[in-house]
Every structure is written in C-alpha cells, then in structure tokens.
C-alpha cells in the first residue's frame, strides 16, 4: 500500500472483497476469524491472529484513527433522529471523551470548508439530505480523525452518476490534501476504479489473481478473469453499440469447496490441463503480478477479449 495512493479492489459479488476489507479494519467478528497473517502499519507489525482471539486487544484509537472503515451502505448509518453535528460529536467522543461539542463542530466545520462543502449541512437531519450528500458526509466524518488508511467499501454503488463523480472528486481532493495517507477502494464497478485508483487488485474466489498499475491492467490484462470483467464493462461508446459481450459462463464457486488448481479454471476460456490440478504460479512482471498458467505460457501477451462484433 504505497503512500498517498488509492488502491482498488475489484471482483464479483461473493469473492471476498468486503471480508478482506473487514479483516484489514480489524472488525473481524465471529463467525469471521482471521486464521493467519500479519499487517504492518508505519513500521508497527501487528499479528492478525492475536487480534482476532482477543478483541479487547484492539483498542479503540486503532479503529477510526489508524484504519477507518467506510462500510457498505454507510449513508444509511446516520441516525434519523440526530443532526449531523451530533453524529460528528459522537464519533469524536468515542475516541476521546474530553472532546466538547464545540470542538467537534469546529473541526467538522474546518474540514467541510477545506473541501468546499456547505457547512449548513451539519445542522440538518439525514432525511433532509440527498443520497449523494449523505454519502459524502459519512466519508468526511469517517476521516475526521485523520486515519492513516481509509477502507471505502462500495462507496459509490448506490449513487447515480453525478453524485458518484462528486464523491470521487472529494476523495481525490482528500488524498491530495493528505487528510489520509492511503485509500483502499472496494467496488465491482471498473469504470469508477479506473477513474480513482493508482493500483488495482482483481480478486476471484478469495484470492487476488492480478495486481498492478491501473493503467496496465486496463490496457494490458494478463489474467483471463480480468479480461472477462473488462469486456463486460458497458461504456456509452460506439463500440458498445455493435459488440455482443458473452459474459462469464457459470457462476462463482462455493468457497466451502473451491475448485482444485486455479479457482477460475471451470469458467476460463483459456483453461489448460494443469489449470485443474496445480495452483497457478505467481508471476512478477515488473510492477505487475499475475497468478495464471496461461500468462506463464504466453509472456507479454494481452489476454484477448471474448467479444463478438454484431
């Protein structure tokens, strides 16, 4: 997770994007357990398993101040009976009991001014705000404590295109102002990701199958799954008018009993004999990581798109 960058995490529903986000934000609650792995933040190494066993070990300052999670559907988390400014105070007081309402207000006002958003919003109730504004407000509130890392889980999915654009512009401005030092942006919407992210990781069935610079992934996909996802993107362009996208056949596997070898092989158009038996090798090509047998056999080749032109 490089300093000052936005990393995207993409994949189909049920591939584990949100679960990974939750584990990183240290809110893995039963029945979800972290069974292994460590996390290093600013030189401080955290063993994820001890955290999972002993939830008291995760002190509150950690959540929200070091890693802040903006969960899915966060805009519905604003209490209908509280004004936005009360929520701001609640969030800040949870971390530092001595914070007064006036201090919380000052901080929120400053932050809103910085982002050139209307300050009067603080005096509103949730029902007085539009969906896009609510989503931008929870984003601002979740970063009031200047977290090192913000994990944004599907922040734009419920919004229409215009509100999406406003939220994205705000996030980019926040990163530029160094309010937070990095963002993990989780969504299945690739066009949105191509707009905000510097790096992109594609997840399939609980594993990261490709990881690299967004530009490289979009123009030069090396994993068949990435290519299939990209071909399913419908941009309003002349190409979309004439192409016929096949989509990915079949459905995502049951993770209780994942396929052997490469987890994508039953649905992959380029599957070979070894794909079904052996785990694919992880190839590192410069800055670009890909876990695929096809990619090993065909170096420096972009996966051809499965699209027929009508």
């Amino acid at each position: 997770m490089p300093e000052g960058q936005i990393v995207g995490l993409a994949g189909e529903s049920g591939c584990g994007k949100t679960t990974l986000g939750n584990a990183l934000a240290l809110i893995a609650n039963p029945p979800l357990y972290v069974i292994g792995g460590t996390m290093e933040i600013d030189g401080e190494v955290i063993d994820m398993t001890t955290l999972a066993k002993d939830s008291n070990h995760v002190h509150r300052p950690y959540r929200g101040a070091t890693v802040s999670l903006l969960p899915q559907g966060a805009m519905n988390a604003i209490s209908p009976t509280l004004k936005i400014k009360d929520l701001v105070h609640d969030v800040m007081a949870a971390h530092d009991k001595s914070v007064t309402k006036a201090e919380a207000m000052d901080r929120a006002t400053d932050r809103l001014k910085m982002l050139s958003m209307p300050v009067r919003v603080l005096d509103s109730y949730a029902h007085q705000l539009s969906g896009g504004m609510k989503q931008r407000m929870v984003t601002v509130i979740s970063t009031l404590l200047d977290p090192k890392l913000l994990i944004a889980d599907e922040p734009t999915s419920a919004l229409d295109v215009s509100s999406q654009k406003q939220l994205i512009e705000m996030l980019l401005a926040m990163v530029d102002m160094k309010i937070m030092r990095g963002v993990i942006f989780i969504t299945h919407d690739l066009p949105v990701l191509s707009m905000v992210t510097d790096r992109l990781a594609i997840m399939y069935a609980g594993k990261i199958v490709e990881n690299g610079r967004t530009e490289d992934l979009v123009h030069n996909a090396r994993h068949p799954y990435t290519s299939a996802l990209l071909s399913a993107v419908l941009d309003p362009t002349l190409e979309t008018r004439t192409k016929h996208v096949l989509g990915i056949p079949g459905s995502p596997p049951n993770l209780g009993n994942p396929p052997t070898g490469c987890r994508f092989h039953p649905r992959c158009a380029f599957a070979m004999a070894e794909c079904g038996t052996k785990e694919p090798p992880v190839l590192l090509e410069g800055n670009h990581e890909v876990a695929c047998w096809w990619a090993e056999k065909n170096p420096d080749t972009t996966v051809p798109m499965e699209v027929t032109l009508a």
């Binding site: 189909e12 066009p191 979009v218 990209l230 309003p236 002349l238 989509g247």
Partner: protein, 275 residues
C-alpha cells in the same frame, strides 16, 4: 439528426404503438402543496423495440413505469394499449391488461419467497392453462428462453441461485404469461457487471426471437447504449430529449443529456491523470 425532438422514427410507418402514454402527469400531495413527479410526458412503444428511459434518481422514471403498469393512477393524461384507452379500466379487463404487460423489478433478492423452490414459485403463478401445453412444459420453455437449464433450476431454492440467475427466473416468470410488453425497472442495476451482461443478452434475445416490446428503465447510460433502439432522457419529470440511441448518445442536443454523459466514468477515457 438535427431534430431529435421529432417523434420516434417508427411512428412514420403508421403503425399503432403497442403501448403509449399521452400527456401523462402525476402529482403527489406533500405538506404545503404538491410536487409534479411526471410532467406532461408522452411516450410510444413500438412492437419489437427496446425503449430505454434514462435519468438521475428522482427524475420520475419509476413513477412513469408504475403508471404504465396501472399500479398507480394518473393525475391527468391517457395510457393506451393497442390503440385502446386503458387509463381507467377495471376488473377483468385490467387483469387481462396485467397479463399482457409484465414487469421485472430491481431487487432480485427480495422478490422471492424463500420457502418455495423455483418450480413452485413459477407454478403458483399460473392458475390457468394456456393452449395444449401443460404447465410443466410451459415452465421448461420459459426457463430455456432465459438460458437456464429447467432440470437444474426447478428444484432449486432462491438462496441456491446467484443474483443473475434469480433475475433470469423473474424474467421467465414474466414470460409465462406470454406478455406483449415487458417493463424492466432497473432490473439489472443490482447485478455485477458480468451477470448484468448476461441478463441484458437475455432481453436482447427475447426481443429478436419473440418480438417482445421492452421498456428498459435505468440510470446507467452504458446499459441503454448496449441494449436500446430508442432512448428517452428524463429530468425532474420532464422528457428533455428523445430519439434513436445513436442520436441521443453520440449527438446529444440537450444540456442535461450532455452533462449526464459527461459524468459517466469511462473505462479507458477517464484513467486517473498522474503527475
């Protein structure tokens, strides 16, 4: 392509539109007055065409669909089906209208009863037989239209299906009534990109194979671009632009349409500019 406000091209052939709304207005009472959700909208649906209605949240797309479905009364204006006024029909006439005009809604997760298998869900739908076909044959035929294997799907419970499969079952359910018109209200918005494409392909296929007329409501211009023959753009209850898909998307005349198109993130065009 200069006159995009002109009537849709197919009207020129003198065909009676399958379904049409003429000067339809809907007002809702709110404290201190009323709001006009749909304002003097006229739209025609021609047989075997896909018409997309696009617009932001709150532009009146769904209200228009509900009025066309006769689920909501109109404040003024008329809705006609096959040249016949259906704005105020009741009883048996309304039930037969509901048979011909079917709908698929947004949420494939809440439209199922969790305790019934797909087969049972589809059987409950049909009290009456149609022609010589038995109910089982009809179910099989409709499931195969939407690309599901009947033998597989019939015994499954909703939780065993993916979102895309559920939405396809909902389309099959609508098709069992042998409808003339299918209204899809954000039917693919909740699906992942790859599943969305397969649901859109089903609709495209049905249009060309069964000559189904489809009203496709969406806020995603990319989907409209992939599927639709004609596009209507709505803003605050008003139709601001209409025409063939090519005309509206590639040569928009209205400022709102232009802004809407500019806001759509484009996979390759909007790659983040790096210093």
């Amino acid at each position: 392509m200069t006159d995009t406000k002109a009537d849709t091209p197919a009207t020129g052939t003198g065909l009676v539109p399958v379904l049409s709304a003429t000067h339809v207005t809907k007002q809702f009472k709110v404290a201190g007055g009323h709001i006009t959700a749909v304002d003097d909208v006229s739209v025609d649906f021609h047989a075997g065409k896909v018409l997309a209605v696009v617009g932001e949240s709150g532009s009146g797309k769904s209200t228009l669909a509900r009025m066309l479905l006769r689920l909501m009364p109109v404040t003024s204006g008329t809705i006609s089906y096959m040249g016949k006024d259906v704005t105020n029909i009741k009883g048996g006439e309304l039930r037969s209208y509901w048979r011909d005009v079917q709908a698929v809604f947004q949420d494939p997760f809440s439209s199922f009863n969790q305790f019934f298998t797909v087969g049972a869900t589809l059987k409950r739908r049909m009290a009456a037989k149609q022609g010589d076909e038995t109910l089982d044959e009809l179910i099989e035929r409709c499931l195969s239209y939407v690309g599901l294997k009947p033998g597989d799907a019939i015994s499954k419970y909703p939780h065993q299906l993916s979102g895309g499969q559920r939405q396809r079952v909902m389309i099959a359910r609508a098709l069992m009534m042998n409808p003339k018109v299918l209204l899809a209200d954000e039917a693919t918005s909740m699906l992942d990109a790859s599943l969305r494409v397969s649901a859109l392909n089903v609709l495209q296929d049905l249009r060309s194979r069964l000559g189904l007329t489809v009203l496709f409501i969406t806020h995603d211009i990319g989907q409209a671009c992939y599927l639709a023959d004609e596009v209507v753009v709505m803003e605050n209850g008003l139709v601001v632009e209409r025409g063939t898909t090519d005309a509206v998307i590639f040569d928009p005349q209205n400022a709102y349409t232009k802004r809407l198109l500019a806001d759509v993130p484009d996979l390759k065009g909007s790659l983040k500019k790096r210093p």
